[in-house]
Point group: C2
Chain length 184, copies 2
Amino acid sequence: MKSGASEAGEDSKDSKPKGNRGISFLDFIMRIVAIVGTLGSAIAMGTSNEDLPSFKQFIRFKAEYKDLPTFTFFVVANGIVSAYLVVSLVLSILHIVMSGARITRVVLIFFDTVMMAFLTSGASAAAAIVYLAHKGNARANWIAICQQYNSFCDRASGSLVGSFIGVLVFLLLIILSALALSRN
Amino acid sequence: MKSGASEAGEDSKDSKPKGNRGISFLDFIMRIVAIVGTLGSAIAMGTSNEDLPSFKQFIRFKAEYKDLPTFTFFVVANGIVSAYLVVSLVLSILHIVMSGARITRVVLIFFDTVMMAFLTSGASAAAAIVYLAHKGNARANWIAICQQYNSFCDRASGSLVGSFIGVLVFLLLIILSALALSRN
């Protein structure tokens, strides 16, 4: 513990690293929340498919996430981000033990920011398509497919929630890391 | 200058704030780049419209960004982010003068992260729709409108570039701020 604080260089007051330990612990808990959110989103979207009772046998009435490239991107993004979050738990635990660490916090801010952008990108792109599926667009002649594939649409819409919770958690994680850095 | 460094609390070595001044100057330059990118994107998308030679007078053959809610969101997001960037220049200049500042850097990281998420959201949602406009989707019966509105589509696609440059700049800005904080 002391070696971790000395690694960071100066460690003038004992109270500050203690405060950072609280921040690091919160960081750990929030990463668990984000893992649940993003993994849940990936699974919810990845397992979504709907078979419609088909009257004409030669037409395939089935909807799944692979039909829309944006939804595939959403599943991949959520999968990668949740895997990253699991790996990042190692650094998070390290910060609970070595609450004075600086370099690893900057590294964590970097990767957290990249992953937040990646997750936001996947979630927003999917949200744009879900919105289109619900509302359609008369000017572009894009019909609202949700009237047909109701359960598929509900599943896709619901899976966005976990992803956006993940984005919010990343926002808080970055602020917490910056706060911990400023207190070192 | 000295008062700014003392505001931050400890200021043990003179070399570090000097390094931070370089970082703050880079921060300022990059914000200018991001302003050009996001404002350019907002204007490019906001002024895009295409009139097609119409054979049937009663059908309106015109495409503009307001036809697609996602593109409206894109213009609004880019407009708000570029306005934020102009305001943030004040803090950026402050950091060049007071290179030891901590609290304002944490504040800047917070708002930069929020704005990055907002910009990424707008850019990705618009990219999903642009992709759809180019490729269409056979499974959802959404046609590729770009075959019809070629110049509108080119304009919309091009306007994404400035926005994504803005996202990259935000990523660098957040890392630079974290680096400056860790060196304080």
